[in-house]
Symmetry: C2
């Protein structure tokens, strides 16, 4: 069984015109995805941005719950925030995974659009995580999605979550929750059928 890592990337992203930009980090993305990550046993959740002031704000949001009085509160929110690390770029995060695990992670992109990249199905990734010791690192984009060069740097990409829906504009908070559930969640029927 391999460890699962996730990253929320803020650069290089597309804006609504398709231009490459750095998007802003948000408190809600850090909190919601940290809670989902912790629920699904994710080893570490990286919030990645090249903008120094955004990293500072992100560390402060994390520290608010993990240090001082708040850390002792009943809500256990700090416990989820402990698993958050703020980083400057993708290389920093893959380097830190490699240092912890002894091997580079299998890097998986996500996108709401279909692309030319090698696709790995949700069930295939789920099986891989259970049967292969190599860590898996899933990347989530912000804004209007990851730049192609970022997707190209990955080993594979997950298919869109609901490719046949008329509307496919989930928030990244919802998308991350669903991907984690599909890849690392309890599954009544399919698990029963597999055994």
């Amino acid at each position: 069984m391999g460890n699962l890592y996730i990253g929320l990337l803020h650069y290089p992203m597309r804006n609504r015109k398709g231009e490459i930009v750095a998007t802003a980090t948000t408190s809600m993305d850090i909190h919601d995805i940290a809670r989902s990550a912790r629920t699904y046993g994710v080893a570490r959740y990286f919030v990645v941005t090249p903008v120094p002031s955004q990293r500072e704000i992100s560390w402060r949001i994390r520290g608010f719950w993990t240090e001082g009085e708040r850390a002792l509160e009943e809500s256990r929110r700090g416990e989820a925030m402990e698993y958050v690390t703020i980083a400057e770029d993708l290389e920093e995060t893959t380097g830190s995974i490699e240092a912890a695990e002894g091997e580079a992670p299998y890097l998986v992109a996500t996108s709401a659009r279909r692309g030319g990249k090698v696709v790995i199905g949700y069930d295939e990734l789920r099986r891989r995580l259970r049967t292969d010791a190599r860590p898996v690192y899933i990347l989530f984009g912000t804004g209007w999605g990851m730049a192609d060069e970022l997707i190209e740097a990955c080993d594979a990409i997950l298919p869109p979550i609901m490719p046949d829906s008329e509307f496919n504009h989930l928030s990244v908070r919802a998308a991350a929750a669903i991907v984690l559930d599909r890849v690392a969640g309890d599954r009544e029927s399919s698990d029963a059928l597999e055994t």
Copy 2:
């Protein structure tokens, strides 16, 4: 195949001390869950609060995206917000479903804790939606969860999303996304196995 409805309830909820309170509506809950609802083909998403000023704010948040200039924007966010209705209490929402459908919905509670209520599994609810014409209405709580009387008023309850996780404190935005995916989402393997 029955229509699927969801509701986000703000009363009667428990606060962290277990007292019964009305929680505050938030812009993020309306937006995120509207986008998830639209992606999964939900017929209507009810935001339910007894507090008149909170209903007013909620209508204004909805109107910001569905009326005037914003409605024409490329982001298609208004398209998700069209499916949002703000209501005063549960009876108002079940009444409106009954008026539209000709029969009362099958009412399903959700909770992060196990309870004494009749449990319907995710796969069972998924099959029910596909094979039974009766509408299904899933309720989500806020704060520290629904009051027992509210759960008692439902026909059944879904099990906790990750009952065996050390940490089970998903945001309601993440929980709603995961429940919709389990009940109404595309499923590679289990669907293939069912046919």
